[in-house]
């Protein structure tokens, strides 16, 4: 058996052991469904917050108008309010009947304890006076618009000054420029999210071998580089199970989305096209996982206690967030030097190249980037194994120097 075949076989043996030990453990189900638990809590919290928000939101706009104008004013408010999306609508309208001194009455609404008045209109609709507080500028504009609409409705009765004809059109380019940027950001964010959830897992994997003393058996039979790569592949297998599970679930959620959302999403898309992007996304996720995972694995292998491993989680998160930040800047401005730097810097390269796939249709840079990233995975594994050999196994490399010396002497 050739040395390469032996190394591949040994690497896969270790990967298989790690994969089965992780995926077939009961705790993996908890890990797999952890996002569901998080989402459930998030949804429950969101509903609760929404209910609480609607019940506690006391912001109001006040219209002090004559009883004769009140129905028209309310109707105009209904019509204009439809233009706004949920969450962007002006505060609820309250129509008050004018008292003896409407100006004082309007001022008094801002001191009322039962509502938070943002703007108050009083006087005739032709010349209304609108009061507003520090946050009520847009509310004041809105009250003015409602007054205008009320008068127009009253004057024109049935006829509108402008009668629009609305037609839906299909964009010929399919994907807008903004849609590409959005796809780029989603790509970077998706890889970041998966990496932050999954790659950090590799930091403690060598701890098992060290605490069980299995490392001695492995190191005697298998080159440490194979041990590191095998463990990384085993954990990658686990990560792929996670991604496939959630990917399948999320892709089917799209069917349940409202038609308008589907149409809006249609404008978002990558420049290389969806099938190619899906492949590149998977490849770059793998590369991000392998690169950052190899670093974390190497650093974690130096730790001798669980406490040390736990201490490493913060710097690990900081590194991941830094790579995400760098790539996000690149995604939003694809032609900037930051984007180019992020594409070249090995540890942000997978994120940044995923963004590039969304922004730019060329394929060849991806082949070069994947080769570059693979080279760095190899370098990191090599360095990690060497550091482990020196730091943990206390095996120096004097032989390497003496070989070099021998070669020099022979020459």
């Amino acid at each position: 058996m050739t040395r390469l075949r032996r190394i591949v076989r040994q690497t896969l043996t270790i990967a298989r052991r790690d994969f089965t030990a992780t995926v077939f453990a009961p705790t993996f189900l908890l890990f797999l469904f952890a996002p569901l638990i998080t989402l459930s809590f998030g949804a429950i919290g969101g509903v609760g917050a929404s209910v609480a928000s609607s019940s506690t939101d006391k912001s109001r706009i006040i219209a002090i108008v004559a009883p004769a104008d009140a129905p028209g004013f309310a109707r105009a408010d209904d019509e204009l309010r439809d233009i706004f999306r949920d969450g962007e609508q002006p505060p609820e309208l309250r129509i008050d009947r004018p008292k003896a001194d409407p100006a004082r009455q309007a001022h008094a609404t801002f001191a009322a304890k039962d509502v938070d008045a943002r703007a108050a209109l009083y006087g005739s609709l032709e010349r209304p006076t609108i009061l507003y507080d520090g946050t009520g500028t847009r509310s004041a504009d809105y009250l003015a618009a409602v007054a205008e609409r009320t008068l127009r409705d009253r004057a024109g009765s049935e006829t509108s000054l402008s009668v629009p004809v609305k037609r839906s059109v299909q964009r010929t380019t399919g994907i807008s420029s903004g849609g590409k940027h959005q796809a780029a950001f989603f790509g970077v964010f998706g890889i970041f999210l998966l990496t932050i959830i999954l790659a950090g897992q590799t930091v403690g994997t060598m701890a098992e071998e060290r605490s069980n003393k299995v490392i001695e058996v492995l190191a005697a039979a298998v080159p440490l580089e194979s041990v590191f790569l095998g463990k990384l592949l085993g954990m990658l297998g686990m990560a792929i199970v996670f991604v496939v599970f959630w990917g399948t679930l999320v892709s089917n959620v799209g069917v349940l989305l409202p038609a308008e959302v589907g149409r809006a999403l249609h404008e978002i898309g990558p420049a290389v096209g969806f099938p190619t992007y899906a492949v590149l996304f998977f490849v770059y996720f793998t590369m991000a996982y392998m690169l950052l995972g190899a670093v974390f694995l190497g650093v974690g292998a130096q730790a001798s206690t669980m406490r040390e491993i736990q201490m490493l989680s913060l710097p690990i998160t900081i590194v991941e967030v830094a790579m995400f930040g760098l790539s996000s800047i690149g995604a939003s401005s694809p032609d900037s030097w930051v984007a180019t730097f992020a594409e070249i810097f090995p540890f942000s390269s997978p994120f940044a190249m995923a963004a590039r796939a969304a922004n730019s249709p060329e394929i060849w840079p991806h082949a070069a980037a994947i080769a570059w990233q693979l080279l760095w995975v190899t370098i990191v594994i090599f360095i990690s194994a060497r550091a482990f050999r020196r730091g943990v196994l206390q095996s120096g490399n004097a032989r390497w120097f003496s070989r070099r010396k021998d070669v020099t002497q022979t020459d």
Binding site: T13, R17, A221, V222
Partner: protein
């Protein structure tokens, strides 16, 4: 001896940990098909030597050859190893653990599992085939790991302190396994500081102390380093008898013990008989490996007495 007749050969192995020279120019030649013991006190450098031979750590200097390969990794599939610090995955079943260890050495898992069942039954652990390692006693887990180191039928089996932590019954099982492996044709290299095992098992042995090899040869060669010991019990004990015996004679509850005089025992016996002490019992014994070991290691301890540095 020709290099192709050696399972292991090493010359001038040196290893430093920081400023401390742990192994200092050790030479070892292990002929194929033999049981070879590496003996030494705690901290002598036995484990470090074995780890260098196996390629787990690199020597700072020296040459080594394992089963004809210049780099131990190239012979990896033909070697079995039981480290001093035992290690198995606690969640693995015994059969899977053995098959996994075999797979690391090139045995396919299916064959490994099949052989694992046979091996476990052979050592009386047939009932533990599907038991998880964490459920096994320390001794049982140690046997499982040993089975994992022989499941791929290696040409060379390296065992680091294999008997430590085993009860007498399991020690006997382990001795049986080692002898069976030798009979199969494997070469066995093991380290120990328990002389009884070495005396019973080793065809040849090396004694390492203070990082250096102090002795190499057979058990008989080691024992022959010390003079024969005489055990004499007089018929009539008297106070003047000590003057007739050699200077190193020591009186015990069952008579006198001393090294056999260089001129032989005949003249001494004649003197004792003439003086009327008679002979109630007399035996001339070859010293054991234990005595030889203590003497060799004791000399090293004296060399390294306080004030002398090993660097």
């Amino acid at each position: 001896m020709a290099s192709n007749e050696l399972a292991v050969s090493a010359t001038g192995l040196i290893k430093r940990f920081g400023d401390r020279k742990v192994v200092d120019g050790v030479d070892i030649s292990v002929p194929k098909g033999m049981i070879y013991g590496v003996l030494g006190p705690n901290g002598a450098g036995k484990t470090t030597t074995l780890r260098m031979l196996l390629g787990i750590i690199e020597p700072d200097d020296g040459e080594r050859m394992l089963l004809g390969c210049n780099h131990p990794r190239d012979a990896s599939d033909r070697v079995g190893y039981l480290p001093e610090e035992r290690g198995l995955y606690p969640a693995m079943k015994a059969r899977e653990a053995i098959a996994f260890l075999g797979a690391l050495r090139g045995l396919d898992l299916r064959t490994g599992r099949k052989r694992a069942v046979g091996l476990l039954e052979r050592v009386g652990l047939g009932y533990a085939v599907d038991m998880k390692i964490r459920k096994l006693s320390k001794g049982m887990a140690q046997l499982v790991q040993l089975l994992g180191s022989i499941v791929h039928q290696p040409e060379l089996l390296v065992l680091d302190e294999p008997f430590s932590g085993l009860d007498p019954v399991n020690q006997e099982r382990l001795e049986g396994l080692i002898l069976a492996e030798r009979d199969r044709g494997a070469t066995i290299l093991f380290s120990t500081h328990v002389m009884a095992h070495a005396e019973r098992l080793c065809d040849r042995l090396a004694i390492i102390a203070g990082g250096k090899r102090r002795f190499e040869g057979t058990v008989d060669d080691a024992r022959a380093m010390l003079p024969m010991r005489a055990h004499y019990m007089p018929r009539r004990d008297a106070s003047d008898i000590a003057a007739l015996l050699p200077e190193d004679a020591v009186r015990g509850p069952d008579g006198w013990r001393f090294a056999q005089p260089e001129e032989g025992t005949e003249a001494l016996l004649a003197r004792l008989l003439d003086a009327g002490h008679g002979i109630s019992a007399l035996s001339i014994e070859r010293p054991g490996l234990h005595e030889a070991f203590v003497r060799i290691v004791g000399q090293v301890a004296q060399e390294h007495a306080p004030g002398e540095k090993t660097r």
